[in-house]
Structure formats: structure tokens, C-alpha cells
């Protein structure tokens, strides 16, 4: 099969992922880095980031950006915790309201972007401030969750045999991932997201419903953020200052996952790899012991730089091939 320009970033992602994983596996083989347990832990530890990144993938594919995801996670988690604590809401109801609220919040930002033509960057920036502030209004500090249903949910493990177990958060992450692939590859909505990000003007002239796609993309991201907030509460607390700055990690995961920041090109599976890469870096640095946590940030920055420059290269090459 011929490799096309748009596949270069995702191939690079895969290469980076394998390279990092292989290097870490060899370097820390004595401490059991190369084990199913450690691998499964990538999914458990990064479930929250992963779910938020999947929502972000759709937004970035459509040519937008969503800075509010971290704050929405914080708001959802504190909402669920305090709703159960203060108003004795049953957990299912609290979770349902939280997911609905996140979706409506995202859709609202999408509506402002759609109808008033404001830049997504600014609208979601306001959304970020707003959600964070609203979270603090609910409660200033972390609120513990103590409810039989929740305890059971957070204790839940799906045994895969061989002592390998998946937690509820990992399962939610994987389910979200599968549904996201369905949305992106097998629905008109998903394909319209690609078209919108590929060339908005063309999408309009092709008669695609670009306005409603735009709105729905932010609603989807809001839903994913709220779901990530639910995953946070599985740690049995809600915290208004949860996930500060997580939007940056999510954007990084999407870009490192090979999605073009200008939109139109990328895969949900790439984002999964991107999240894995971030997880591998973090775990490897923990395993290494003497390297400190800030190397994670520097490494992410360097990877971002490489992928953004790679994207520029792919785009200019594309221009040249179309011109000639």
C-alpha cells in the first residue's frame, strides 16, 4: 500500500509509541516494565485524560479547539460529590444530570461559536473560567463520596485472567474509544466533522450541515469532559480544582496522536496512541527514579514541536503536489 501524506503523522505516532515503549521495556526490564500489568495500568491511570482527549479529537478534527475540558471535569466531579453529599441525590441521577449538564454546556459554547462567529479559542476560554468558577461556587474544597453504589463501582474489577484486571474507569475509557471510532468512521456526523475541518467553505458549498456539526462537536466534547469527571469521582471524591491544565495534555495527546491542528486529518486511534505515549513517558520517568517529573513536560513539549513541524511539512508538501 502506498503511504499518503496524510498518513505520515499517524505512522510517526506509531513509531514514537513503539520506540518509547521498546526503549523503556529494555531499560527497565529488570523492574518488570514489559508486563501486561504495567500495560493495563496505562489504561487505568490515563482513563480521565483519554476520555477528554477523545472529545478533544473531534473538536480539533473540525478545525476548532476546546480549552474548557479541565474545568468541566472539575465542575462535574464537585457537582456529583456535593449533590450526593448535600442534597442526597442518588448517584445515578447525579451522574445523569452531570453528563447532561456537560453536554448542554459544550453545546452552548458551540452555539455561540456557530451563531456569532466568535473564535473557539476565546469562547472556550470563557467556558473554562466559567466552569472553574462555578465549581468553586458549589464547594471550595474536595468533597469525599461515600455511597454503597459508588464504593462498589470504584471497587469493581473485571478479571481478564492471569491476574489482569480492568477497573470501571478503564472500561469506560475503552467503551468511549470504541463508540468514538464508530462515530468518526461510520456515521455521517463523523465524516462531516472531517469535511468541516478539511475545508469549511467547500463543506458549505457541498451542502453539508456545517452549522449543526460545529455545535454538536462542542456538545460531544462537553459530554466527554463530563464523563471524564465521572471517572474522576470513581476515586471517591469530587474536587473543584481537579484536572487543572488537563486541556493542555489533551491537546498534546491529540496532536502527538497525529491529528492535524488545522483540522480535517487524524484518527481517534491516533489519540489513543497519543495518550499511551504520554502514559509511557510518565511511567518510564517514575520507573527511572532519578529523573524528575518535569521531564514529562519537557518531553511533551519536544514531541509537540516535532509533530507540529511535521504537520507543517506535510501541509506544504501537499500544497506543492496539488499545485503541480
Amino acid at each position: 500500500m502506498r503511504i499518503t501524506a496524510k498518513q505520515i503523522p499517524i505512522i510517526a505516532t506509531l513509531a514514537v509509541c513503539l520506540l518509547l515503549y521498546g526503549t523503556a521495556a529494555i531499560a527497565f526490564h529488570d523492574r518488570g516494565f514489559f508486563s501486561v500489568g504495567v500495560f493495563v495500568n496505562f489504561f487505568i491511570d490515563n482513563a480521565m485524560l483519554g476520555i477528554a482527549s477523545i472529545g478533544m479529537t473531534f473538536v480539533i478534527l473540525s478545525g476548532g479547539i476546546d480549552l474548557s475540558v479541565g474545568s468541566v471535569i472539575g465542575l462535574t466531579s464537585i457537582f456529583i460529590a456535593s449533590a450526593m453529599d448535600r442534597y442526597k441525590l442518588p448517584p445515578i441521577v447525579a451522574i445523569f444530570v452531570a453528563l447532561l449538564g456537560g453536554t448542554v454546556f459544550g453545546g452552548g459554547m458551540g452555539a455561540v461559536i456557530r451563531y456569532f462567529g466568535l473564535p473557539p479559542f476565546l469562547v472556550t476560554l470563557a467556558g473554562m473560567f466559567f466552569a472553574r468558577g462555578a465549581g468553586f461556587l458549589l464547594h471550595l474544597e474536595s468533597v469525599p463520596i461515600d455511597h454503597p453504589f459508588y464504593n462498589a463501582l470504584s471497587e469493581f474489577h473485571l478479571a481478564l485472567g492471569g491476574g489482569i484486571e480492568l477497573t470501571a474507569s478503564a472500561l469506560i475509557f475503552l467503551a468511549t474509544f470504541i463508540i468514538a471510532i464508530y462515530l468518526a468512521q461510520y456515521t455521517r456526523f463523523g465524516r462531516n466533522v472531517y469535511a468541516l475541518g478539511g475545508n469549511e467553505q467547500s463543506a458549505v458549498l457541498m451542502g453539508l450541515p456545517t452549522g449543526s456539526v460545529k455545535m454538536r462537536v462542542y456538545a460531544l466534547s462537553g459530554f466527554c469532559s463530563a464523563l471524564a469527571g465521572v471517572v474522576y469521582t470513581l476515586g471517591l471524591s469530587g474536587n473543584p480544582s481537579a484536572a487543572v491544565g488537563l486541556e493542555l495534555d489533551a491537546i498534546a495527546a491529540v496532536v502527538i496522536g497525529g491529528t492535524l491542528l488545522t483540522g480535517g486529518v487524524g484518527y481517534v486511534a491516533g489519540t489513543l496512541l497519543g495518550v499511551l505515549i504520554l502514559g509511557i513517558i510518565q511511567t518510564a520517568i517514575t520507573f527511572q527514579g532519578s529523573l524528575s517529573s518535569w521531564w514529562t513536560k519537557i518531553a511533551i513539549g519536544v514531541l509537540l514541536l516535532i509533530f507540529i513541524l511535521l504537520q507543517r511539512f506535510v501541509q506544504t508538501r501537499k500544497l506543492r503536489t496539488t499545485a503541480s
Binding site: L118, P119, V123, M128, F129, W294, G301, R312
Partner: protein
């Protein structure tokens, strides 16, 4: 006769120029006045000033002092936004500045002045890096500066080895905490930076070039302006301003806190610029209005603090301010609002 009419023409043109700057200064000032008026009636001692040990104390001075870092950032951010860009990395650059300064203070015997100069130079390099990505690699500004926003804090932590480095250095402490002309020294830093930047944009052609590039890059390019260099310089200036702001914060808390120094201040400074009337699409910019915008944000924060409302409430206020200001700037919103008004009447 002719001279007289020429004079009249000149006077008129000067008046128009003033009115344009005033028009953009007006809104943040009115908002500021409203907040101050509220405090005048409802916050006891808000306007109280007293002289102690050769320094004036009071809420108003406190606001000016606390607003200094964001004011500095907003000066640089105004220039960057005027070229049609944005710089998300200024908060991280502040952290880098604090770390470098802390390192130089604790590990070297450089004088206070050389520490400041070295730190600011390092931050200028950081800004230039952004500029190279935006102007020469032609990466979108949000994306290009995101890299340093993420990696910058890591670099700052790397420099300080992840610790909060505290230091005692009387001359450096003066930078953020000293008294000059009976006022906190940061106010002087802001004033001097503002004076230098105003001179730069008014007494050289830099201001014209920046506005031209931000307003219509293609036409500027075809008019023989080195658009890339203009953009590069704007980001370098942004880096320098962030460096100064970082120094103030580090000096004020007598420590370099790579995790928290300047956290979210990039957003505050963007907000200040937007409130000050400089459009995010670039073009005409208003340094003084951005300062007023920064003051407004700090005044609201201080008001909320003194009224024992949780300080986090400021976040919601900021969100509402962003949306209102952006909607007012949005042509589509104005069109739709106009239609609505017409339909009603």
C-alpha cells in the same frame, strides 16, 4: 489664509486621533469607575491612603502593585495581538524568569543589575523562539506558543530542580517589594516599560508597521514591509515583558515557584488586551487601554476579596466579561441584535 486653514486641519486631525484613543480607553475606564464607585459606597476604607515609612499604603496602591505583572504582560500581549497573533506562553516564560533569577542569585555572585539583564535576555530568546515558529515556520500562533506553554514550566522546574528556591537578596527584593517615589517599585517598572514601548511605537515606524501587518498582512507585504521580521520582533517584546513580570513575582515572594508563578496570567493578559479594545484579529492597538483593562481585572479581584466573596467568583466574572466584550466586537452579533431591535419596533 492657507496657513490658518492648514492649522485648523491639523488641529482637527489631532482631535480625531485623540478621540480614537479615547474611545477605546473610555470603556475600561467607565467600568473601572463603576467598580470603584461601588467600593466607595460599600467597602469601608477602600479609598483610605496613609503614609508610613515613606511609602503610601492603601487598597488603591495595593491594586496598582498587584496588577503590575498582568499590566506588563498585557503591554507585550497588546503588541503580539496587534500583529494578528497571540502568545500563550507568557505565564510559563514568567516561571522561567523566576527560576533563572533564583539560580543566578543563589549560585552566582552577579550584581543585581546583571541578573536582571541576563534574565530578561533569556526571556527575549524564549519570545524569539515563538516568533520564529510563527513568522518563519508559519505555525498558527496559538499552536506555536502552546509548545512553550507546555514545555516552559518543565524548563523552569528543571532549572530549579523542581524545588521552590527561596532566597534573601536585599537588592533583588527591591525589584518587587521596594519603595520608589513613595510607591511600590513595580509601579515604576510598569511606567518605564510603558514609556519605552510608547516611544518605540510612536517615535519610530514600528507602531505603523505593527498595525499594518496586523490589519492586512498581504497588503503590507506588497508595500515592502518585512512582515516576518515585524512579527518576530513582536514576540520578542512579549518575551521581554513576561521576563520583567516574572522577576517582579519572584522578587515579591522571594522565591522561584516554577509550578505556580504566572499560572493563568496569559489568559488574564489576553483578557486585559481585549477589554482594552484591541481586536484579536489584529491592527490598531491601544497600550494605555490595555493597562486600564489589567487594572480593571485587578480591581474586580480585590473588590471580591475585600467583600469576603470567594475569590474564585472572579473566574465567573472574567468569563462573563470575555463573552460580553467579544460579542460587542462581533459583527454578526451586532447584525443579529440590530435585526431583533428592528423586528420589535
Amino acid at each position: 489664509m492657507k496657513a490658518a486653514s492648514d492649522n485648523a486641519l491639523q488641529r482637527e486631525s489631532k482631535a480625531r486621533r485623540h478621540s480614537e484613543a479615547w474611545h477605546h480607553l473610555k470603556w475600561p475606564l467607565i467600568a473601572l469607575a463603576v467598580v470603584l464607585l461601588f467600593n466607595f459606597f460599600f467597602t469601608p476604607l477602600f479609598f483610605h491612603l496613609e503614609m508610613k515609612d515613606g511609602r503610601i499604603y492603601g487598597s488603591l496602591i495595593d491594586i496598582l502593585n498587584r496588577a503590575a505583572p498582568v499590566m506588563l504582560l498585557s503591554l507585550g500581549m497588546t503588541i503580539v495581538i496587534a500583529t494578528g497573533g497571540v502568545d500563550l506562553s507568557v505565564g510559563a516564560v514568567m516561571a522561567i524568569a523566576g527560576s533563572i533569577a533564583a539560580l543566578l542569585i543563589t549560585k552566582s555572585s552577579y550584581s543585581f543589575l546583571s541578573i536582571v539583564i541576563l534574565t530578561v535576555c533569556a526571556c527575549a530568546v524564549a519570545g524569539t523562539w515563538n516568533g520564529v515558529l510563527v513568522a518563519y515556520a508559519q505555525v498558527q500562533p496559538i499552536v506555536a506558543t502552546l509548545i512553550l506553554m507546555v514545555a516552559g514550566r518543565g524548563i523552569a522546574q528543571l532549572l530549579t530542580n523542581g524545588q521552590i528556591i527561596t532566597f534573601e537578596n536585599p537588592s533583588f527584593a527591591f525589584f518587587g517589594g521596594g519603595t520608589f517615589l513613595a510607591l511600590p517599585f513595580p509601579i515604576t517598572i510598569v511606567a518605564v516599560t510603558f514609556a519605552i514601548l510608547s516611544t518605540l511605537v510612536n517615535r519610530t515606524a514600528a507602531g505603523l508597521f505593527i498595525e499594518a501587518v496586523g490589519d492586512n498582512e498581504k497588503a503590507s507585504n506588497y508595500s515592502g514591509i518585512n512582515t516576518r521580521l515585524v512579527k518576530l520582533a513582536a514576540y520578542t517584546l512579549g518575551g521581554i515583558c513576561a521576563g520583567l513580570a516574572g522577576l517582579i513575582v519572584a522578587s515579591d515572594i522571594k522565591a522561584a515557584d516554577a509550578n505556580n508563578a504566572g499560572l493563568y496570567l496569559e489568559l488574564d493578559s489576553i483578557l486585559a488586551v481585549v477589554v482594552g479594545g484591541t481586536a484579536l484579529t489584529g491592527g490598531r492597538f491601544f497600550l494605555l487601554s490595555s493597562l486600564a483593562g489589567a487594572l480593571l481585572i485587578q480591581t474586580i479581584t480585590t473588590t471580591i476579596l475585600t467583600r469576603a466573596i470567594p475569590v474564585e467568583f472572579t473566574l465567573i466574572v472574567k468569563a462573563v466579561v470575555i463573552i460580553i466584550v467579544c460579542l460587542l466586537q462581533s459583527e454578526e452579533f451586532r447584525k443579529k441584535a440590530l435585526q431583533l431591535v428592528r423586528r420589535k419596533s
